[in-house]
Structures are given as C-alpha cells and as structure tokens.
Amino acid sequence: MQRTALYESHVELGGRMVPFAGWELPVQYPTGPLVEHKAVRTAAGVFDIDHMGQFSLTGPDADHFLQYVQVYDISQMQVWDAHYSLLCYEDGTLIDDIFLYRLPEGWMIAVNAGNRAKDWAWLQSHSHGYQIELTDISDETYMLAVQGPKAAAILQRMTDTNLEEVAARTGLRATVGGVEMLLGRTGYTGEDGFELYLPTAAVVNFWNDLLAAGKDDGLIPCGLAARDSLRFEACMPLYDHEIDAETNPYEARQGWTVSLEKPDFLGRNALLKAKLEDNHKILVGFEMIDRAVARDHYEIAVDGQVVGHVTTGMKSPTLDKFVGLGYVPPTHQKLGTEIDILIRGTAKRAKVVRRPFYKPRYKE
C-alpha cells in the first residue's frame, strides 16, 4: 500500500484512511461525506488525487502518436487546451478514460490510478517507429483538485496571474502560493474549479497554505466518498463501473469523444462498426419509485428476468433522491421505462430518467 506525501496531513485532520487503487487515501474527514459533498456544491473542497498518474509526451511525432492511440481529434486543440478522451482496445472496448493537456512543449496525459500500469504498457507497446519521448512523471507530479463555486476566488488570492480569464478546459502555468505549477480548469465534480499539478516536494506546505487561504470561504478537505457522489450526480463515468473492458464508448454514452473522421486510430474499425449497429446494452439513469438504495453490482430485472446491472447508485445528496446508473438492453432505455432493481432478493421498482442528475456548472 502506497502513501501520498500528504498522508500525515490527512491523519492530522482526522481523515479516515482506506485502501484505494493501491494507495491509502482519506475516504472522508470528520466532516463526513454529505457535508464534504455539499461544500463542493456551495463553496469549495480540496481533494488529494495524487494517486492518479501523469505521462509526459514530447518529440517531433508526439501529435501523430497521440492522434493514433486515443479516440479524440487532437488536431483541433490549441496550446493550453485540455480535453477528455478514451483509450480503446482494437475491439473498441475501453482501456481507460484520460485527460489530455496540450502544452507548449508537447502533451501531458492524466490517467486513472488503477489503470496507470496498464495504460503505460499499452502506450509503450504502440510507440515503436515514432520519434517521441514518453515519460511517466507521476512520482514527481503531485495532483490536487480544488473544486466549487469559490475555488477560483480562493486560488486567485494565492497568485498574481489572472485566473478569472482562464476558460473551462484550458490550462496554464502559474505561481500559486509561491509554487510554480500547471493548472487546468478541469475537474471531476460538475463544478467550476481547477486541477493542480505541482512538485511533490512542495505539496505539504502548499496544502496548509491553501486550507488557510480558503478557510473563510468555507474550503474544506474532501475525501473519496464525496469525490464519488459528486461525479456520480454529474453522471461522469468511473472506470470499473460505467466503463470497462467489456464496454464500448457508445454503450457508455461517451461516443461524443470519438472522432471517427480521423483516418486511423486504435479501435477505429470496431468503433465504426459499433456506431452503425445496435448497442448490446446502454447506460441509463434511473430513479427509485420504491424506497430503496440501489448500489453498484445489483442486478436489474424486467418481468422477472435479469437484463442488466447497476454501475453506481446512492442517495443523491444534492437531489435528496435515490438514483442510480446502470446498463439495460436498448429496448428499455426510453425515459419513463420501469425496471426492477434486485436488492437483497427483492425487486424494487425504478424508472429511467434523464441524465445528468446534476447539470454541471462550468465557466464556459
């Protein structure tokens, strides 16, 4: 089990440490998941997400290589643009979801902690013949997320660089709290905010400075439970839940990231075929009609037959409703369709509803 440089800081704050993707991270602090969730929606929260991985990609063939290995058309991206994308196997199923940052010197790719080794091996195995430098910079790069309507104002207090002008899904380099870092106006919560990439050596002091700077605005440290409930409400996928190696982007409602007009990229043939054919399954949002909590892996049934499963479910803190995401056959995807969630052996009725449950509030 690995520990981030902020481990002691979390323990000092009363963080409840749990194993996650091989790392010990706080699932919550004494404030609890609901208070932490609400803080991000109404003020600001800071998350230690150092377990995530970062790869640097430079060299004359960097653009060609990146265009080939992931699904989005990066030729449209200017320097400092950032965008969500997917890595697919040749059969069109999902290896990982990633975030791309076009930097002056090349690219940075942010990857999920649990898929870091897998993504690295995949990219390496496809790198032959390209003049590139592909480097795993995860160990020396510390990642934090500062999210919420007050996030920008709090960070603004710590820097002379004008953050107001920074558009959603763009990045910049700036000195914040005396630390030179890369920032992206990106996140995984459905709120405005920034993801910070700074040197690991600087993080302990920066974390304390940030908490002090944001205190009066209601900034609190938030754990993994809140991170999950926030992304779930905005219907953002989580690997091994909504997306996995048995699922293609169209089934997971992420087809918008796939640029089939690109001449060739890994998975293109299979994705083209998948787009033209009917889906085997499709991700829907549902709301419980019977009072119950649907959770990941619970089966979904119709007329007594199991037809799918829940990928994530909970009581939505913002909506105060019992809702979930899950896979059903395309025949059952229409809004209002009633389905049963099997909970401890009993069928509890739910209905298909519109996604997202919470409409993201980005600075467009």
Partner: protein, 132 residues
Amino acid sequence: MAYKFEKDLRYAKSHEWVRIEDDIAIVGISDAAQDLLSDVVFVELPEIGDEVTAGDAIAVVESVKAAEDVNAPVSGVVVEINRELEETPELVNDDPYGSWFFKIKPSSSLANELAKLLDADGYAEFVEENEH
C-alpha cells in the same frame, strides 16, 4: 476514539444495543456503529409480526458508502418499528441511543440471550480491541 457507551444497556458484538422496558426489548445501534457508518441515508425496518431469532439480520442501515445489517440481539416477535427513522435517518447519527429501530416481545430464551451479550464495559473493550 471517544465513543459513548450507555451504562444500562446490553450490547452485541455486531454493535446493536438492547434495553428491556416493561418486558419488551428495545433495540438500536451504538455510537461506535453510527460513527463507523458515517452519514446514514436510509433505514429498512422489519415488519410488525416478524418472528426473529437472535443473530438474524432483520433490518438494514445504509450510509453513503455501504449497507450494513442490523441483527436481532434477542429472539421473539417484532411488535413495533420506528418509522421516524425511515423519514429522518440522520437521527441514527445524531442520537444513536435515543433512536430505537424496533421493539421485540422476547421469547422464553431472553435471560440466556441477554447473558450472552456484553455489558457497557465489555462492549467498550471489544470496540477498543477491534479498532486497531
């Protein structure tokens, strides 16, 4: 961790407390249990009339992250359920010893079953040992 342990109750290792009042067993979950769960969002109660055996999972308490069973600490018949917890599950966190889940009319095995449960000190020790 400084949990509260009410003196006059008996406790199960599965974290339920029980109090006998007018020959009826009143059951809830301990302060340690509600803290470990964190924010309670849902409570599923048994039906009135259910015949239960000590140790059976007869109710469920759900937090943001997980669902946990609530066991009957004694055998008997469920005679009352606390619907208020269905409406306001947070009460379990706010007042664990004041928020009863269900009441059981005990069977003739009550004395034996109570003897198998822990007193406040015994339960406090058990919680302490299992924390680390």
